[in-house]
Amino acid sequence: MAKPGLDGHDRGVKVVARALRDHGMEVIYTGLRQTPEQIAEAAIQEDVDVVGLSILSGAHMTLMPRVVELLRAEGADDIVVVGGGIIPDDDAKELQKAGLYATFGPGTSTEQIIEIIERAVVERRRVEASHDAKKGAAKPASQRK
């Protein structure tokens, strides 16, 4: 979870982070006023399944697609990016075209966010597993006797 840009409103991102934690997820919170470069770098090093961006300043059309671009440039385009904030419907459509998996506007429940994140991760793992299987990847150590 990260807050790109300059707004200091981190109540929402903390509520969501807490809800995800209580749902059994490991949540890395990077703090306020992050550049897209910092967020992409953190996402790569931490090898996250999902990046959640919270922007309440109105700069979502600039900052959110930039994170997607940076992940693509690093070959980490399988990392799912979602965004939350005051995002008009037209913008939401544009953002999905730009590669965001989903956007969450005001009034979204934490249950909805969890559901969509879980679905995204299941899809991501399935793709990864099918590629592993095709390539004949070695069995995990834990399954060896």
Binding site: D22, G24, I44, D78, K139
Partner: protein
Amino acid sequence: MPRRGPRSLLHSESRSADLLDGTLRGDRLSAARLITKIENNEAPLDTLRAIHKHSGRAHVIGITGAPGAGKSTLVDKLADHYRKLGKKVGVVCVDPSSPFTGGAILGDRIRMQTRSTDKDVFVRSMGTRGSLGGLARATNDTVKVLDAMGKDVVIVETVGVGQGEVDIVRTADTIVVVLVPGMGDDVQTIKAGIMEIGDVFCVNKADRDGANRTVMEVTQLLEMVMRPDDAWTPLIVQTIAAEDKGVDELITSVTKHFAHLQSSGELAVRRRKRSEAELLEILKSRLVHYVMSEDKMRGRFDTYVDEIARRERDPHEAAARILDEWR
């Protein structure tokens, strides 16, 4: 830094052999994905073997201390100063997982912004996932991955510890215990645990009242310990991490300790002890895993648990029976 085109990772890099090659080349994405496999117990044995073989070069520094002592801020500044010395830095930060849901909020990165886009600083956060000694089960192997990817210094930050969480001795060459002034009697209360493992004591937030007193207390505590003449005497350093003060002195002390380890032969002794603990730990977890992976034994286990709870059987006998039956 090698750049791959979009989607290339899905097509090849998720294979463990590629992740290994990438890691040994210093590729961040490969190392990150390999660490995930290690955390999830999915790394193949031959990958782990190669990583082990390519590690042992980095100076591994453990940072431990009470919650709120300033460990993350200190690690941020240490990484920055080591970079100024031309060293490549790896960082592993451990935070507690919830014992109820398994979830965790890993927040150490909030304080680690100074080098957040430096490609030669690699920071990985991890939840303890049930481990109680201040580190996670995967921490040791993660340190090796960072070592094998070419980091000169690997800094391991433990969870905020109280007294007995001293697993860091099984991972680090040099241990820095971070203290803050005003904990008064706490220095006394923790003396049996983490006060025994420090090679360097760092009194952080040294601009606060009572810093000198804390330094004095630690000095006295260390004087009470009997050591052979040629043994290392722990150093005490004062820092104000948030203002970036005293960090060079801390690095000097830590480097001095590592030089002592090397020249005295103590490094080999310590690393052998660590290997012993490491093997024992893996053996324990594998043994439990093997016993419990058989359906028959799993059923027996549950039955015994019920009987123990009803006071019909004692746990020592139950364990002995499980092992007898398993053999």
